[in-house]
Amino acid sequence: MRHGKARFVAGFLALPVALYLFYVVWPFVQAVAYSLTNWGGFSDTQEFVGLANYTKLIQDELVRKAFWHNVFFLVTVPLFTITLALFFAFLLNVGGRGNRAGIRGVFGSSIYKIIFFFPQVLSLVLVAIMWSAIYRGDGQGLLNGLLIKVGIVDPEQPVKFVSDPSPFLGVPTVLWWLLLIAVWGGVGFYMVLLSAAMQSIPRDIYEAALLDGASRVHTFFRVTLPLLRDTVSVAWVYLGFIALDMYALVFVMTPSQGGPDHASEVFASVIQFNAFQRGQFGYACAIAVALAIFTLLLAAVQLRITRRERIEF
């Protein structure tokens, strides 16, 4: 019996663990090792250079840019997505005409949910290509066409969207346009998530608040939001990781995959650029390790900030 159990455990674990070690763990370990060398990627010569790559990356203008762009997305993507998602989830759940208790979901809420969720099932590449057509820099894009028709934009000087490196509020304009896509894509998912969480809050709590004379807006800030804290923090952490995926948009949509003039570089595009365009594998790995450290720190900080005792109901 005991012998059978050991064989069973080993048999079940062998294949998944082997695959995982080979395709996930091993590349990470190698990345750390390569980051200490000057390996170019195409030759067999590699010398140990210690931390030289790391001191180089701290001074690298491109890495610094990418870092701040990542931070920008890290802050703005969750902020806008969750705020809008909360707003819509709130409308969905308490926007209906009140009955006895004054709280009721809005009419047709499941249809809204279906529609809002659409972008979530589409691939990032597809979304990016679609938005390239919407963001076309001449009068024939959807947005430029609309804006010209309404008269906000001069037909001679259409909005350049993702090929506009000039700063807006201190951040390259192209990033704001990419942010819009991320928020457009994410709101539906988080609305469904938060809406489900809102529904699990017992009605009596709302009823009690309303009987005490609280307004809907009041109920939202004093009752709903505090009780949603757990879900919101999970969403926040999750969106933080999603923000790293902005690379898909950068890759498909921006000129020379990080342009114009490196205005939309993110960590991943800098890694790709250094590894495959410049042929500096060792250095690219150092940037990757820096990214991993950054992500882990972030996860730790976010978990720390958002941790609080759970309220059971």
Partner: protein
């Protein structure tokens, strides 16, 4: 439909007659009578905002689909119009050929089919053993799987590319541009989340059933496949949907591993067909073809989603809050 859920069914009078029907409800209060006007206004506002966002979501999609039927002349002349000047099906056949859709669809089906099946099988096997059997090294293996959750795939890109290339020198079947290789890579990268999710699921299954089966002489293996796996079905469905969508939409790993310089392109997946179509569009300015390609990639997914919307929503949102 009961009176309670009928919208706009009269004012406060209707409501106060409905109130007492509900067992255990508080007695009607006069405050609600005055609240009903503001209720209506609030409801109107809700619909206004929700409709605005719905339009923002649907309009671009609709525009793409309808533009796919236009010819290029109309796209240039009146890009905003929603009604095509005829159904130009040739856009679709052109996109089908240029985007190599017959092969990319087939490849994507093979790779996602194999990838999801193996992910589910291996993921639940590992999760089950880690959740329900005590043995030295259990924790270490579990946390190694968990660590993969927070490490970005971009970090592994360079060594993964090199390693696959090297393996391919010895075993071409596992090298760059091979179906089997991409399936295994998908499985490996999906394992972290699948193990994490199914682990918590297997933990909650009752021990008594497992003990009973073992007493009845079932082996550990048949206990897993005959008893535990069927009991974990809701979890399997959630994580299955999650993996199907995730692997179907994967683009970075194929771009990294299925299209190395000078490599063959016959095994590429859907995301790459789309990227190629969009890059070609830049040279030939064939917008109608691009729209047709995007439509062909988009509609099947949307249809499947609408049919299974409840499961998809629950599956995707459920898997991140676990």
């Amino acid at each position: 439909m009961s009176t309670v859920t009928t919208p706009a069914a009269g004012g406060p009078a209707t409501r106060s007659t409905v109130g007492p029907d509900r067992v255990g409800g508080p007695p009607p209060k006069s405050r609600r009578a005055s609240g009903s006007l503001s209720d209506s206004v609030f409801s109107g506002f809700s619909h206004l905002f929700l409709l605005t966002w719905s339009v923002m979501v649907v309009f671009p999609l609709l525009w793409v689909v309808l533009s796919a039927f236009k010819d290029d002349a109309q796209i240039v002349r009146s890009p905003l119009s929603l009604i095509p000047n005829g159904l130009h099906w040739d856009n679709f056949s052109r996109a089908w050929v240029n985007g190599k859709f017959s092969s990319v669809f087939l490849n994507t089906f093979i790779i996602v089919g194999g990838g999801v099946f193996l992910t589910m099988l291996l993921g639940s096997m590992a999760a089950y053993v880690l959740a329900r059997y005590e043995f030295p090294g259990n924790r270490v293996i579990y946390y190694t799987f968990l660590a993969g959750l927070s490490l970005p795939v971009y970090m592994a890109a360079v060594p993964l590319f090199k390693g696959t290339d090297n393996v391919g020198q010895l075993f071409p079947l596992l090298g760059l541009n091979s179906h089997l290789m991409l399936i295994l890579v998908y499985v490996a990268w999906s394992l972290s989340f699948t193990v994490f999710f199914m682990h918590s699921f297997f933990k909650t299954l009752p021990t008594s059933v497992a003990e009973a089966a073992l007493v009845d002489g079932a082996s550990h293996t048949s206990l897993f496949f005959r008893v535990m796996l069927p009991m974990a079905r809701p979890g399997l469905i959630s994580i299955g949907i999650f993996n199907v969508i995730g692997q179907w939409n994967q683009w970075y790993l194929p771009v990294l591993l299925m299209n190395p310089p000078g490599g063959q392109t016959k095994n590429q997946v859907l995301a790459q067909g789309l990227i190629e179509l969009s890059v070609n569009q830049g040279y030939k300015s064939d917008w109608s073809g691009l729209f047709a390609g995007v439509t062909m990639a988009m509609l099947p997914v949307l249809v499947v989603y609408i049919v299974f919307q409840r499961q998809v929503q629950a599956g995707l949102t459920g898997s991140i809050t676990k």
